[in-house]
Symmetry: C2
Subunit: 433 residues, 2 copies
C-alpha cells in the first residue's frame, strides 16, 4: 500500500472513518504509521490518535516534535487533549503546551490536568453551550450559534448567572417557540442534575445511568459551571471500572491489557502469586501440625486440595456477588440478614456436596466414619468460606477501602489456610488421632 505515492494514499484515506484509520495505523510499522500521520491533515489524525491503544499512541507521539503534537491537540476536544498530554513526560508536556497557538484552548487543557483522572473534573470537557439568564432570546440565538461551532454535539444548553453559577437548563424547543423579546430567565428550567469537579467518576456514572442522562454539567466549589461530562466518556469509564474489578478478582492489578509488555504484566501478576505462595506455605505449616494423622489417615492429605479448592471457590462466589452489589449500590437490608442468607445458601450447597462425598466413599469402599468426617468438615468449611466472602468486602467497603481487593487471590488464600486448618481440626475431633 505504501510506496510513497502520497496523493493516492490521501485520496484513499479521505473517506475512511477515523476509528478505522486508527486500526490501520496499529497494523503498520512505526515508521509507516508516523509517515501516514504526518501526511494527513491534523483534524483527521487527531481523531485517529484518540482511538489508538495507549502503547501504540505513545510510540507514535515519541517520534513527533512538540510543535507537531501541539498541532494535533489544537484539533481535539479539551478532555481528549488533556488525556493525551497526561501520557507525556512533565518536560514534554510543558514544551507542547508552549507550542500551542490557541491560548484559551491551552489554558483549558492545563486546567483539566489539575484534576484527578477518575473525578468528574478529570472526565469532563470544557466545550459546552451556555447562556446567561439575563440575555434575550434573540441575543441568545446569535451567541449560541457561535458557541456551537466548537462543540461536536450539543446535548443541553446550560443557563448561568452573571457570576457563571449554574442556574438550570434550556430546552431547544422552548427557545425556538418563545417570543423573541422574552428573557432567558422567563423560559429556562430551573431543575438540573449536576456534579462537582471532585465527584468520583463511579458516582458520576451512577447518576448518569440512573437518570438516563447523555451529558451532565460539572460545577466547581463555588457552584460555577466549569465543564460537562458526556455519556461516551462514561461508557469507557464504566467498562474500564468493570474490567478492573474483574482483573482484581483474577489476581491482576493496574488494569493491564493482553498486549502490554512482559515486564508490566509481571508487575501486575507476580505480587498476587507471591501472596498465594505465602498462603501455601501457611498451609504447609498447618498440615505439619497434624503430621500424626499421616500414619492412620493418609487419605485426609489426599483430600486437602479438594477442601482448599472448595473453600476458595465458595469464597470467590460470595465475595463476587457482594462486590458487584456494592459497586451497583443495590445491596439492601442489614448485614445480619445477608449473613443469614449466605448461611442458608451454603448449608444447601454444603449438604449436597457432603452427600456426594459420602456417595464417593461408598463407591471406593472408604471407611464410613472417614467419609462422614470429611463430609462434615467440608460442610463447615463451606459455611466459613461463605461467611468470610460476604463479611470481608462489606467491612472493607464500610471502612472506605475498595472491596474489590478482597476478591480473588486474597479471599482464596485466606480461605485455603482457614479451610485446611478447620478440616484437620474437625477430622481430629471426629476421628481422634
Amino acid at each position: 500500500v505504501e510506496e510513497k505515492n502520497n496523493e493516492e494514499l490521501l485520496l484513499h484515506l479521505e473517506d475512511v472513518h477515523h476509528a478505522d484509520i486508527a486500526e490501520i495505523l496499529t497494523e503498520l510499522s512505526l515508521d509507516e504509521a508516523v509517515y501516514v500521520v504526518k501526511l494527513m491533515d491534523s483534524q483527521k489524525t487527531a481523531e485517529a490518535l484518540m482511538e489508538l491503544e495507549e502503547n501504540v499512541r505513545e510510540r507514535i507521539l515519541d517520534t513527533l516534535t512538540p510543535k507537531e503534537i501541539a498541532d494535533e491537540l489544537e484539533e481535539m476536544d479539551t478532555d481528549d487533549a488533556a488525556d493525551i498530554i497526561s501520557e507525556l513526560s512533565l518536560e514534554r508536556q510543558q514544551n507542547v503546551i508552549a507550542e500551542m497557538a490557541d491560548e484559551e484552548h491551552a489554558d483549558n487543557i492545563v486546567e483539566l490536568l489539575r484534576y484527578d483522572e477518575d473525578s468528574a473534573g478529570g472526565l469532563m470537557a470544557k466545550e459546552l453551550v451556555k447562556v446567561n439568564e439575563n440575555w434575550s432570546v434573540t441575543g441568545c440565538m446569535t451567541e449560541m450559534r457561535q458557541q456551537a461551532e466548537n462543540v461536536t454535539r450539543v446535548h443541553s444548553i446550560y443557563v448561568v448567572d452573571d457570576k457563571n453559577k449554574l442556574k438550570g437548563r434550556l430546552s431547544l424547543k422552548d427557545l425556538l417557540t418563545a417570543p423573541s423579546r422574552a428573557n432567558i430567565s422567563d423560559i429556562y428550567i430551573p431543575q438540573v442534575d449536576y456534579v462537582n469537579v471532585h465527584t468520583d467518576g463511579e458516582e458520576v456514572a451512577r447518576i448518569m445511568q440512573k437518570y438516563d442522562l447523555e451529558a451532565i454539567p460539572v460545577v466547581d466549589e463555588m457552584g460555577r459551571l466549569v465543564g460537562r461530562v458526556t455519556i461516551d466518556d462514561i461508557v469507557d469509564f464504566i467498562k474500564e471500572e468493570a474490567e478492573k474489578d474483574y482483573q482484581m478478582a483474577a489476581g491482576i492489578s493496574e488494569g493491564v491489557e493482553a498486549d502490554d509488555s512482559v515486564w508490566r504484566l509481571t508487575r501486575a501478576r507476580l505480587p498476587w502469586l507471591v501472596l498465594g505462595l505465602f498462603g501455601g506455605l501457611g498451609s504447609v505449616y498447618v498440615m505439619q501440625g497434624f503430621e500424626e494423622a499421616l500414619a492412620k489417615f493418609p487419605v485426609l492429605f489426599f483430600f486437602t486440595p479438594l477442601i482448599a479448592a472448595m473453600a476458595g471457590n465458595v469464597g470467590v462466589q460470595s465475595s463476587a456477588i457482594i462486590v458487584q452489589g456494592l459497586a451497583n449500590n443495590n445491596l439492601r437490608g442489614s448485614l445480619f440478614k445477608r449473613l443469614l442468607k449466605e448461611l442458608s445458601l451454603s448449608l444447601i450447597n454444603g449438604v449436597v456436596l457432603g452427600l456426594l462425598i459420602i456417595l464417593f466413599g461408598l463407591i471406593v469402599g472408604q471407611p464410613q466414619l472417614v467419609s462422614l468426617s470429611i463430609a462434615l468438615s467440608l460442610l463447615s468449611v463451606i459455611i466459613l468460606a461463605a461467611l468470610i466472602g460476604t463479611f470481608v468486602p462489606i467491612i472493607l467497603d464500610k471502612r472506605g477501602i475498595d472491596p474489590a481487593i478482597a476478591t480473588g487471590p486474597f479471599i482464596t488464600t485466606s480461605n485455603d489456610i482457614l479451610g485446611i486448618f478447620l478440616f484437620f481440626y474437625l477430622s481430629k475431633v471426629i476421628l481422634g488421632f
Copy 2:
C-alpha cells in the same frame, strides 16, 4: 408517610424524579407500593416501573390487572414495554396486549418480542424520526414535528426511500439552512452506520463505542429501517456483559444479583461447586497413585495445596486477560507469539517463586534436594497452567463458544489436577521414590 391522604402524597411525589420514585417503591411494602402505583398517573409510574429491580417489579405487576399493565405500557417506549412484557407468563402477555388501546404501539411491541433479547432487534426501540428522500424540505419539517412527539430524544434523522430502505441520515443543521423547495435527496448524507436486527448485542456495543455513536439505526434482512438502538440501552448492556463475564470467572452463572432468592443463587452457584468437587476427587485419585511417597517424603503432601493454588491462580490470571482481550476485540498477533509471551512471563514468575521456595527450605532446614525438586515442579506447573489458561479460551473462541466459561472454576479445576499430577510425577523422577 402513608396514611391514605392521597392528595398530599401526590403533591409530594409530583416533583420527584422517576428514578427516585423507583427507589421509594423498593423501600415500601408490596401493598404500599401497589397503592402508590395505582394512585399516581401512569406516565410517571411507567417510568418508575422501568427503573425498578426485576424482582420488585415482578411482584408489583403480579397484583395489577392486565388492563392496568396495558395502561402502563402505553406510556412506555416500545423497547421498554417489550422488556417488561417479556417478563410475564405467555398467557398474561396475550391478555395484556389484548387490552392495549393503541394498536400500532401493541403491534410494535409484539414485533420486538420476536427478536432475541441480546440481538440488535431485541435492544432496539421502534421510536425514531425518519423522512423520505423524495420529500421536500417543507413537507419534511411538518412530518418531523409530528414524529418527534412520540420520540423522547431525537438523536438522528434517518432518510429512507419509498420501500422504507435506509439510505442515509440528515443533519438538522443542513435541514434548517436548506432552501425550502429543495428535496431531501439533495441534502442528505448518504453515509450512515447501521446494524442488522440479528447483529449480536456485543457487536452493536462495539460499533457504537468505536464510532462514538449515540444511536444506530437497525435494518431488517431487506435493508428496511425497522428501529434504532440508543446509547443508554447499550450502557446497560455493556455493564451487564462485563458483570456476566466477571460472575462466570467467579463460578456463578445466569447473571444473578445479591438480592435474588436463595434458590436462584443456589442454581447459579452449586453446579460450579459440583464441578470443583469432581476435580477435587480427581486429585484424590491422582495422589493415591503416588501413595508410596507418603513414607519417605510426606512433605510433598503438605505442599499440594500450594501447588494447586498456584496452578489455579496462574490459570485464572492468564485466562482473564485473554477473555477480556477477546471481548474487546484487541488481541493481535499469532497464537504462537502469544504463547511465547505467556511462556516468558511464567518463566519469570516461576523462577522468582521457586527461589522463594528454596529460601523457605533453607530457613526451616528442609533437605535441599527436596526444596529444589519442589521449586522445579512449581516452575513447570506455572508454565503449564499459563499455557492452558491462554490456549483454552482462544480455542473455544475460535470454535464459536463463549471463552468466558473457560475462566474461574473450570480452569482452576483442570489446572489443579494437572498441576498436582505434574508435581508428583516430577518429584518422583527427581527424588526417586
